[in-house]
């Protein structure tokens, strides 16, 4: 960055001023330069787009090294942030009249945590892909796209204002779109990419409108200024509710919440490492992150919070119910992701800021693990249909246990990370008085345990149901990242437990009373109920798919209708195609009709009038001096009349 540009940067006054004092201790140095974190993957992207073709599979090393740099830097920044206050730096991006729009970066607790999550998962996925994508023609392009996505995602999480967030928000959408459509020659991939882009864009428009309305109310896109305006009561209650809900629409689109969820399962057309990175751990969590980042705005409106909670809880149980019957390993995980994101929304909507963010973190680890393990399975057996698998426990000696860890974590089995974070969510929902939503979440937890263990038993237990040759464990470049995630899926919960201390929670809400308490007390029976339903789900799954003492179709044969409704995902895609798509086509056809008849008719009449005038004029050109004289006289007469009436001038 040129010195001239650096002069532009205005040091922000927000937070506790930390100028020379901290610099002397050498603490802020890392945070001051946090803007460099997203630039590493950007460089990787640019480099690979330009030279990837020559590097071939060596491109992987470029990508891995650059994301490693981001990861190391993010960790240093996180450690800095433990002891130093929020840091923010901005410069003018665009001037509109008197208004100056700024761009810059901010390191607060949430950002610092997200930086680490994103760069860690991205680094692991970069590494894993080296094995998974081996032999792929467009290997360098894949790594370039990964770099682009990581850049955008890291940029998103250090944005200090809504406009910049939106900027990167759309760019992560681009990264997701490109990677879903990576196998561009497949019609399904093409359709899925298009769908993902358009569905999320529908949400984005909500975000855009909310953001602009908020700007005209608060006079700024800056988070801190918006919160200040909210707190000062400068924005009316209706406006807060309206803008918060509009912004939430954006989060609904990105995080695959009902009713904009249908793109996310289709997005599984992308390569599996992409599903792990984008459609499990990072981008889809961006919606949750956005609500968390704007939490003081949401907290100011009970209606907005309620909307978030209801949509979240409904999505949690709705998607979990679809997950019960799917046959594609990645689709089960996709619906599980939708459902888990619903949990996070429920947490935030129940004023459980810490619970939402905590679950975001643990979910990032165990869901990325599950996807990578699923990728490892697919890599070994070359199918995604779980009906064709079975008996893989003996063949995949590393993947199997790791998948089990992920499954235990997501099912909320005690001592695994998901147990603690899900418990926090349930407590938050209960404590906020959302009793109905609480019970929905409990049922969803039962579903989750059931469908996850159904998946596990179908894939790993019993005997192989089809003839599978050459099944072998993935190379260590793929298993090592999974091991790292496996460890995290177990231990990540211990940063915030009711037993050993709520370190994460206390740290997250430090110096910011608007975010609520670091820990919400809840009755002890909640933990017992949560454990019970999860064990019950596992037990039922074991009876049906493990021990097989219960016939697999004892339920489906009794309720064929519900089964087919679930299997067809409540026919929502069909519904949209019948209403929205047909509607748009109808409007277009109608306008085309208008274009052909009305507008072209106008054209015809214009040309018609002109040529008629021409013909009329040429009629006077008949060579008869009398006609000429008449025309001249009439013309003169008209001019005289006009002159007489207007006194010489038309006014």
């Amino acid at each position: 960055m040129a010195p001239a540009l650096k002069d532009l940067f205005i040091r922000s006054q927000s937070g506790t001023p930390c100028s020379r004092v901290c610099s002397k201790k050498g603490i802020v140095i890392m945070m001051e330069n946090a803007w460099i974190i997203p630039l590493f993957p950007l460089l990787s992207f640019l480099f690979l787009i330009l030279f990837g073709k020559r590097l071939k599979e060596a491109s992987a090393y470029i990508g891995i090294l650059f994301t490693l740099a981001s990861l190391v830097y993010s960790l240093l920044v996180l450690f800095d942030r433990f002891s130093a206050p929020t840091y923010k730096a901005e410069g003018v991006w665009l001037t509109i009249g008197d208004v100056q729009l700024t761009a810059g970066f901010e390191v607060n607790q949430l950002n610092a945590l997200m930086l680490v999550i994103v760069s860690l998962v991205s680094f692991l996925v970069h590494t894993y892909s080296k094995g998974y994508m081996q032999g792929e023609d467009r290997f360098p392009v894949f790594y370039a796209y990964l770099g682009l996505f990581t850049f955008a995602m890291l940029g998103l999480v250090i944005s200090p204002n809504l406009l910049q967030t939106y900027f990167f928000w759309e760019l992560v959408g681009l990264g997701s779109f490109l990677l879903i459509g990576f196998y561009f020659y497949k019609e399904e991939a093409k359709a899925a990419a298009k769908k993902a882009f358009i569905m999320t864009r529908i949400g984005d428009v909500g975000l855009l409108i909310g953001m602009i309305l908020l700007f005209w109310q608060a006079g700024s896109f800056e988070y801190d200024e918006i919160f200040a305006a909210v707190e000062a009561g400068a924005i009316s209650g209706t406006m807060i509710t309206l803008t918060a809900i509009l912004i939430f629409v954006g989060a609904v689109g990105k995080s695959g919440q009902f009713p904009l969820h249908t793109w996310l399962p289709d997005a599984m057309e992308g390569p599996t490492p992409v599903s792990a990175l984008i459609h499990a751990a990072t981008m889809v969590a961006a919606g949750v992150y956005l609500v968390a980042a704007l939490f003081p705005l949401f907290a100011a409106s009970e209606t907005a919070l309620m909307t978030v909670a209801v949509i979240g809880a409904f999505t949690a149980i709705f998607a979990a119910s679809i997950g019960l019957v799917q046959k594609d390993i990645k689709r089960v995980l996709a619906y599980s992701t939708v459902s888990q994101l619903g949990y996070m929304m429920l947490a935030l909507g129940s004023a459980g800021y810490v619970a939402g963010v905590f679950h975001l973190m643990t979910h990032a680890f165990f869901k990325a693990l599950l996807f990578l393990a699923a990728g490892s399975v697919i890599h070994a057996v070359h199918t995604q249909n779980i009906e064709h698998m079975g008996g893989l426990w003996k063949k995949l000696r590393v993947t199997g246990p790791l998948f089990l860890i992920g499954t235990l974590a997501i099912s909320g089995v005690p001592l695994f990370s998901g147990f603690f974070s899900k418990d926090e969510i349930l407590i938050a929902a209960w404590a906020h008085g959302n009793t109905v939503l609480f019970w929905l979440a409990v049922i969803a937890a039962f579903f989750t345990a059931f469908y996850m263990f159904r998946l596990f038993f179908l894939v790993f237990a019993g005997e192989a149901r089809t003839d599978m040759k050459n099944v072998h464990e993935s190379p260590s470049v793929m298993t090592l990242p999974m091991v790292v995630l496996g460890v995290l899926a177990v231990v990540a919960g211990y940063v915030n437990t009711p037993w050993f201390g709520t370190f994460l929670g206390d740290w997250l809400v430090e110096d910011n009373h608007a975010l609520g308490h670091g820990h919400i007390e809840g009755p002890a029976w909640i933990m017992i109920v949560a454990t019970a339903v999860s064990l019950l789900g596992i037990f039922l799954a074991w009876l049906m798919y493990g021990k097989r003492s219960l016939s697999r179709d004892w339920l489906t044969s009794r309720m064929p209708l519900s089964y087919s409704v679930l299997y067809n995902k409540y026919y929502i895609d069909e519904f949209y195609s019948m209403t929205v798509v047909t509607g748009a086509k109808f409007i277009s056809s109608f306008l085309r009709f208008l274009e052909v008849f009305l507008v072209e008719g106008l054209v015809k009449s214009v040309t018609g009038i002109i040529s008629a005038l021409g013909r009329l004029g040429s009629k006077f050109h008949n060579g008869q001096i009398q006609t000429y004289g008449t025309v001249a006289f009439v013309g003169l007469a008209i001019l005289v009349v006009i002159y007489a009436f207007t006194g010489g001038y038309l006014k």
């Binding site: 009249g97 358009i198 309305l213």
Partner: protein, 505 residues
């Protein structure tokens, strides 16, 4: 540096190329093409010098030129009553338009390599067209503006009619009829203004029309002002184009050769927006304010109408034509908002769409050259055979649908930012256009590039060396504006201040 004739040299420099071309034998294809290309360079270099001088704070006034040209009237009473001077000058807005014109002319000259016949006539007309476009933006008085405006029409007519596709004559005639009518209406307004105020100088007109006690030759009533503004709206509305005056423009987009469409969509349409801002808003600010709501409504109509029609087209050129209509709606939306954000957004959109449309039409030229079709269906799976072209096509589409980091986003964002302040409900209905833009562009572009390959790509070469130049320059500029919008907003500051002063904002 002697600045005395800087602008004149800039505007008329392409004529040198015309002169050289007239001495060349008509069969020397590559020589003619080289000369045609080189002749666009002086204007490009000079306009860039002007831009960087301005950025360095040199002041654009020193470029003004004024030579007495025509005087008449009763000198006994009020001095020389009617005088028309040859006067050129620049402000921030016209400077940007001149740079845009010069850049796109050079790139279109490169794209003209695909022209198959009568290169000599083609390039002579091409360069004449450039003179007209540069002159339009540099003219400091209405009569000079009108002359340059007409100069653009004639070469365009022949360029479409002779070097276009199957229905080229039809397209050329409808171009001429519509624009001819627009010109006629414009001429009436200019003549009335000139007759009533005694001056055709734009700054003088702005002062005269908005002074409390104007020194007029003859009075102008409020109704008449309104009438003149509406006439201007029609004249420039044809050019922009505003629904329902757009059908000529669809024909031109489809039938004209891609190199000419680059200029047509990139610059010629923008004269409409330029005229609306410079004359409509500048000379009739009060009347403009009372029409602002209607402009915004028309803008939303344009935006949605173009977007929905683009959604059902089967030919990529048709998609782009309706997309242009849709994107010009954003200009109207910004102007209708009539605040800083809106107007700045409108001007950004003028530049941004110029670059994006030029990029997309250049790419149309690239694959039309290879496949002789622009039908979406027939091109399917292009990414397999021409990955680089497909990549740039996708980049162009992303820019067009307003992806952040590219120029389209900045302009769209500002226009909507402006409109949401004044008319939130209307603006909210306009945002459907943002979704539809993504829908129709992805449908078209993915239809062309993704999916199963519909044809055999053996023997098809991807982009060639010279073809990279326009694409890289355009993408570079689009990203530059998207990431660092100050390159545009800073030169515009003074223009915007003047406008806002006029409308009392």
């Amino acid at each position: 540096m002697n600045l005395a004739y800087f602008l004149s040299i800039l505007v008329f420099s392409p004529l040198l190329g015309v002169l050289v071309l007239s001495f060349l034998p008509r069969t020397q294809e590559s020589l003619i093409k080289t000369v045609g290309f080189l002749a666009t360079l002086p204007a490009l270099v000079l306009s860039l010098i002007a831009y960087f001088q301005d950025r360095a704070g040199a002041g654009l006034e020193q470029l003004n030129e004024k030579v007495s040209w025509i005087q008449f009237g009763d000198s006994g009473q009020l001095g020389n009553l009617f005088s028309i001077d040859y006067e050129l000058g620049l402000d921030g807005f016209s400077l940007i338009m001149i740079v845009l014109t010069a850049v796109l002319s050079t790139l279109a000259a490169i794209a003209s390599i695909h022209i198959k016949k009568e290169w000599k006539g083609y390039f002579m007309l091409f360069l004449l067209l450039e003179v007209g476009m540069l002159g339009v933006f540099a003219a400091e008085n209405l009569i000079l503006f009108f002359i340059f405006f007409e100069i653009t029409l004639i070469p365009t007519f022949f360029l479409i009619g002779k070097w276009g596709y199957y229905e080229k004559e039809n397209a050329a005639y409808s171009f001429l009829i519509y624009n001819g009518l627009g010109s006629a209406v414009l001429l009436i307004v200019i003549m009335v203004l000139f007759a009533r105020t005694g001056t055709a100088n734009i700054d003088a007109l702005m002062a005269a029309m908005n002074a409390d006690n104007p020194q007029l030759v003859a009075p102008i009533s409020e109704n008449m002002k309104m009438g003149m503004l509406i006439a201007l709206l029609i004249a420039f509305g044809v050019k922009l184009p505003i629904f329902p005056l757009h059908s000529w423009m669809v024909r031109v987009h489809v039938q004209a050769p891609p190199s000419i469409v680059m200029l047509h969509a990139g610059v010629l349409l923008k004269i409409g927006a330029f005229g609306l801002i410079r004359f409509g808003m500048g000379i009739f600010p009060e009347q403009f304010q009372s029409l602002a709501v209607w402009l915004a409504v028309l803008g939303v109509v344009n935006l949605l109408y173009g977007a929905f029609l683009a959604f059902v087209q089967t030919d990529f050129k048709m998609v782009l034509a309706y997309s242009s209509i849709s994107h010009m709606g954003i200009v109207l939306i910004g102007l209708g908002a009539l605040n800083e954000a809106g107007i700045q957004g409108a001007i950004f959109q003028v530049v941004s769409h110029g670059l994006i449309a030029a990029l997309l039409f250049f790419l149309v030229g690239v694959f039309y050259e290879r496949f002789q079709t622009s039908s979406i269906q027939n091109l399917g799976g292009l990414a397999k055979g021409m990955p680089i072209t497909a990549g740039f096509l996708l980049a162009g589409a992303m820019a067009s649908l307003g992806l952040p980091g590219m120029s389209g986003f900045v302009s769209e964002f500002m226009a909507f930012l402006g409109l949401f302040k004044e008319m939130p409900i209307l603006a909210a209905s306009g945002t459907i256009g943002i979704i539809m833009t993504a829908v129709y562009l992805l449908r078209a572009v993915l239809g062309i590039t993704y999916g199963k390959a519909h044809r055999d790509f053996a023997g098809i070469t991807d982009m060639k060396k010279f073809e990279f130049v326009p694409v890289l320059v355009l993408v570079g500029l689009i990203v530059l504006i998207g990431v660092y919008p100050s390159v545009l907003s800073e030169p515009l500051t003074s223009t915007l201040e003047t406008i806002m002063l006029g409308i009392g904002g």
